[in-house]
């Protein structure tokens, strides 16, 4: 098991390194930090631009391979991911934003998963009854509401609610208010900011897990071993809980594990709508400011998340499914 995991881990590290380096060259193909200084009044000369960019390793006048080696050796020897075009450290930017994103994404992922599985189990054990039909219909609609539409609809509702109550219950922008101190005030403040973006992510995300869990559970309910269990006197609910649910959870956890990277970078829209300074927002700003080192760092982070998701999926399958033997 350990040996198997180590081998998988090494494979993923290799993939991440190669993917990150490919992104580095792609970024130089499409982004040019020098364009940030075009159109300045008075116009900057090429020497002035170079004087700004060469120390940051962002000047196109240095040969590409030399730039690449400066960047790559910086990461390997000093874990330094480079500087942005205005001189800020990518390491600092990323390490701060990961926590902002995590705050949003972790809660949303947990709620989405629990809600999706619960609804899946509930509707599957009532197949084609009214509750199942209603659940299916709402899930098809919520799954296909664009995140942007759901997000701004929530903003409109929250503004209406705040006006009706006369107090600011929900904050529609930002991750926290400045100047809040103490444990409970901070907690309340965080919740006030967190509610709307979390709702937006949950509404548009729970349905895919609902559908998967429902169809898997239905397949398992019809399987022989569940029929045997019922023949031995278990009620339908008991048979589902003790036998069918466990096997049907395996593919669901796999899917959840694989959505971790998607949620992290997929929160791009949610973070833009609610103005959160997380990885998603950073991703947009690095692209629009030709911040090559920042862009590549985001890409590496996304690749790392994919790898973690895939490894988590492997591990959960081994834990949940007694039939899988690895050596």
């Amino acid at each position: 098991m350990i040996k198997y995991l180590v081998r998988r881990l090494l494979g993923w590290v290799l993939m991440i390194v190669v993917a990150t380096n490919i992104t580095y060259f792609l970024a130089w193909l499409y982004l040019d930090p020098a364009t940030n200084y075009f159109g300045r009044r008075p116009p900057l000369s090429q020497e002035q631009i170079d004087a700004l960019l060469v120390p940051r390793n962002l000047s196109a006048s240095v040969p590409l391979l030399e730039r690449w080696w400066n960047w790559f050796s910086g990461i390997i020897f000093r874990w330094d991911w480079g500087l942005g075009p205005t001189g800020e450290s990518v390491n600092e930017q990323v390490s701060y934003r990961i926590w902002v994103s995590a705050e949003l994404v972790l809660g949303a992922t947990i709620i989405t998963t629990v809600l999706g599985i619960a609804l899946g189990v509930y509707t599957a054990s009532r197949q084609y009854k009214l509750a199942d039909r209603i659940g299916q219909a709402t899930s098809i609609i919520t799954l296909n509401i664009p995140v942007v539409v759901a997000g701004f609809a929530l903003v409109l509702l929250a503004i209406g609610f705040n006006n009706a109550v006369g107090v600011r219950v929900f904050y529609v922008t930002g991750a926290s208010s400045p100047g809040v101190e103490g444990f409970f005030p901070v907690l309340v403040d965080v919740l006030q900011h967190l509610t709307l973006p979390t709702l937006a992510l949950v509404i548009t995300g729970y349905a895919s897990i609902h559908f998967l869990q429902r169809s898997l559970l239905l397949d398992n309910i019809k399987a022989d071993y569940v029929r045997t269990a019922r023949a031995k006197g278990l009620t339908k609910q008991q048979a589902i809980r003790k036998h069918a649910l466990r096997t049907s959870l395996i593919p669901v956890t796999t899917q959840v594990a694989f959505t971790i990277p998607l949620v992290f970078t997929g929160a791009v829209l949610t973070e833009s709508i609610f103005n959160w300074n997380g990885m998603g927002k950073y991703f947009i700003s690095t692209l629009s400011t030709n911040d090559i080192h920042g862009t590549v760092a985001v890409a590496a982070f996304g690749a790392l998340m994919t790898a973690i998701g895939a490894i988590l999926a492997d591990v959960t399958v081994v834990i949940l499914d007694p039939r899988v033997r690895v050596n």
Binding site: M15, A19, Y30, L31, Y128, P146, T265, L287
Partner: protein, 305 residues
């Protein structure tokens, strides 16, 4: 339901030659029509397509006209969906934006389906080195953040919708469906009719196109409809973030991005494109659901037919 439609002759005891067998198409149609959501989806989609085609023709203004007498005004007899801050007619813009979004979606869905079907099926049929290379590429595509590359390239292309569509096909769209089709094709590869075709001396490409792909046709049809939904969503996201279709060209995403900045002061600029977009994605999803019921032989949701 009449007796003829379930394949039973009305006159009991009539000679067997009068008995009509239900054709495949009639069978699929009937199973599709039984799903009320799917029928609703077709109706909504038809109305939207009609709006996208006829809308720009019947609007009082073209989508690039500026009406300086009506800046950021609510819906009225002159401007049915109101105007934006520069005096553009929102009705004409939504109609043109919807047209553009549908064009991108259909082009991307067709392209993605074709590319993923060919890659997936040939990888499963030819196996060996070719298959290993294809699977490695697919795994790489999963690790490289597609959305980032998409944003870089389409930003560089200056908002040209054709370039955006091509990137959506080749960078984002094809690899996940290709992997699914590959898994399915692996089992089809071992069927007798494929062996028969091989012993009859058909070339590999011919077997893939004439014998393998038609047998996963239902999956391809469903993939196509779901591809439309995801293409619409991705294009909207890009345009909303400012990396997609750019002015003077409009798409629903670009309009929503604009409308979101005036959410409170001019909600109509957000509401109409958002409604059009939601109706488009939901109707396509309902149709996909109905197609799955109709085409998937193991699905019992459509009842028996």
């Amino acid at each position: 339901m009449s007796l003829e439609s379930i394949g039973v002759s009305p006159e009991v005891g009539a000679p067997p030659k009068n008995r009509k067998r239900t054709s495949m198409r009639a069978l699929y149609t009937r199973r599709f029509m039984r799903n009320r959501g799917a029928v609703l989806g077709v109706i909504i989609l038809a109305v939207l397509v009609l709006f996208a085609i006829v809308g720009p023709l019947v609007a009082n203004h073209s989508h690039t006209d500026l009406d300086f007498l009506a800046l950021r005004q609510g819906p009225s007899a002159e401007h049915w969906f109101g105007t934006n801050g520069s005096g553009n007619d929102n009705f004409a813009q939504v109609a043109v934006g919807l047209q553009r979004s549908i064009q991108i979606a259909v082009l991307v869905a067709v392209g993605t389906t074709v590319v993923s079907a060919i890659v997936g099926a040939t990888a499963a049929y030819f196996r060996g080195t070719y298959e290993r290379i294809m699977l490695t590429i697919i795994h790489f595509m999963m690790v490289i953040p597609a959305f980032l590359i998409l944003a870089m390239i389409s930003n560089d292309a200056g908002g040209n919708w054709l370039v955006i569509s091509l990137v959506l096909i080749f960078v984002v769209g094809w690899y996940m469906p290709a992997r699914i089709i590959w898994t399915l094709s692996l089992s089809i590869r071992e069927r007798e009719y494929i062996h028969a075709a091989r012993y009859a001396g058909l070339s590999g490409m011919r077997i893939v196109i004439r014998h393998m792909l038609p047998n996963i046709g239902s999956l391809l049809v469903i993939n196509f409809t779901l591809g439309v939904v995801s293409a619409v969503l991705t294009e909207t996201a890009l345009s909303f973030l400012g990396f997609g279709v750019k002015l003077p060209d409009v798409s629903l995403g670009a309009l929503i991005g604009y409308g979101s900045s005036t959410l409170v002061s001019a909600p109509w600029l957000f509401f109409f494109p958002a409604a059009a977009l939601t109706l488009l994605t939901v109707s396509m999803a309902l149709i996909a659901d109905g197609l799955r019921d109709a085409l998937d032989p193991t699905s019992a949701a459509g009842g028996r037919a």
